[in-house]
Amino acid sequence: MQTTMRQQMVETLEDILLQDERAVIVLAEISYSLFHKQRPEVRERLFNLGIMEQSMISVAAGFALEGFIPCVHSITPFLVERPFEQLKDDFCYQQLSGKFISTGASYDYSEEGMTHQGSGDVHILRSLPGMQIVVPGTPSEFDALFRASYANGANTYFRLSLAQNPFDTSTQFGKLAVVRRGTQATIIAVGPTLAPTLAAVEGMDVTVLYCATVAPFDGETLRAADQSSNIILVEPYYEGVLAQDICAAMQHTPMRLESIGVPHRILPNYGAPEEHDADIGLTPQGIRRRIERFLGK
């Protein structure tokens, strides 16, 4: 059975606890049962606070003040939206560093309704100065990107999802990866949208860039790779978050931009995540239709 990003998170964090005594894990119940408390380093440095997400962030900041590197985890809305002011004041304003790992991306918890959806996380976190945002496409990409940025002194958000690409893509923290080259358009696929995007553009003469680090955004690679000034953005959260960064990167070049992602509206249906994908067009067929329309085909 395929490893999930969440399972990989447990493995990665437990390994880091073993290697670095500055590491602590701070939880508010979510995923507590997945950790191996019989291991002494886990027992000593995993703090499950109970269901108090605001204090989860503040307590983690207290650890950061004392020189620890807190790794904080919960379901997306309870990590990002409920304690947003704690992220802003207790980490960003204080100029402290923490690592924040969500589970349940966009409508992964589709059966649970809107309270458990998290399509707005990347959009609102982009408003925090210095907040780094990583959207891995596979469990092993999470592992590599987490290890690469874990001790970098910044605040970093890792967006874990049920959806994952069936292949790893060689990607460095903070860099776009050129997956294929073409001349008619440049497509930026974020995290787990890479696989459906590659399926969508089969036979098309387009460049595909893979983006696993949303912030800081690698505008330099985009500028160097683009030959068409037709930019298409495919994101697994509310559409258009990277539009501002793309405009900034391409500011001296007239361009056209198409944003494909989760539409900015309430999604009232339950069902499976794949049904939401089909409903909003985040499928190979849906993405291809949008690209063809944009390119006038």
């Binding site: 602590v24 000593e44 440095r45 703090f47 606070l49 109970g50 108090m52 605001q54 204090s55 503040s58 307590v59 983690a60 900041a61 207290g62 650890f63 003040l65 004392e66 020189g67 620890f68 002011e85 704690q86 004041d89 207790d90 304003y93 204080q94 100029q95």
Partner: protein, 221 residues
């Protein structure tokens, strides 16, 4: 007028412009004076020393007495006081840890400092440090849900290295009832004292319970 007020009066008079927070500022004066004059271990020339006790002004509001005491104890020059809330000053109407030597946490939005102090106390215990964490909250701040999250958590974790001073100057619109009893119900060693009486303040601050965090409700008329 207390001796602390007499001693600090020249410094307090420099800090003009935040009179709307006067009652908040002066309600903390005696507790902070005793804390910095006789209880806390610190080196004003090395304010981030690992060997210091930590103080968190959780409520953030009305830091005038706090600034006067930090200046008096040598954390920064008295000349900074004149620049209170000015463009080129380091002293804002809420304290900033990255600008003011001796300030542990930047506060201002209510309900953040005490939960962060709980994190610091947990971290110090993990480091096997015997240093103490003091956090000062206001009775108005006790309206915030995050304060009660932190009180629940500290009691549950038996954080004996944490002391919370609740300044009760009756600023809360909601009637809070017996605050000390509420802390006690959450597993704290709690006491109510006269927030102007230096002997009571000193005795309460020096008390450390072996298995519980300590709450001092300082009543201010």
């Amino acid at each position: 007028m207390t001796s602390a007020r007499d001693h600090l009066e020249p410094l307090l008079l420099e800090l003009l412009g935040d009179e709307k927070h006067d009652s908040s500022s002066y309600s903390t004066l005696d507790v902070l004076w005793v804390l910095y004059d006789r209880v806390m271990r610190y080196d004003a020339r090395n304010p981030r020393s690992e060997e210091r006790d930590r103080f968190v002004l959780s409520k953030g509001h009305g830091p005038v007495a706090y600034y006067a005491i930090l200046a008096d104890k040598g954390f920064f020059p008295h000349s900074e006081l004149k620049k209170f809330m000015r463009w080129n000053g380091i002293l804002g109407a809420h304290p900033d840890r990255n600008q003011v030597p001796g300030v542990e946490i930047s506060t201002g939005s209510l309900g953040h400092g005490l939960p962060m102090a709980v994190g610091m106390a947990l971290a110090l215990r993990l480091k096997k440090s015997d240093r103490r964490v003091f956090a000062l909250i206001g009775d108005g701040e006790c309206n915030e849900g995050s304060i009660w999250e932190a009180i629940l958590l500290a009691g549950n974790r038996q954080l004996s290295n944490l002391t919370c001073i609740a300044i009760n100057n009756h600023s809360s619109s909601l009637e809070l009832g017996d605050l000390a009893a509420k802390f006690a119900a959450f597993g704290w060693a709690a006491i109510s004292i006269d927030g102007r009486d230096h002997t009571q303040i000193y005795d309460a601050l020096m008390h450390v319970d072996e298995t519980r965090p300590t709450a001092i409700v300082a009543e201010i008329e």
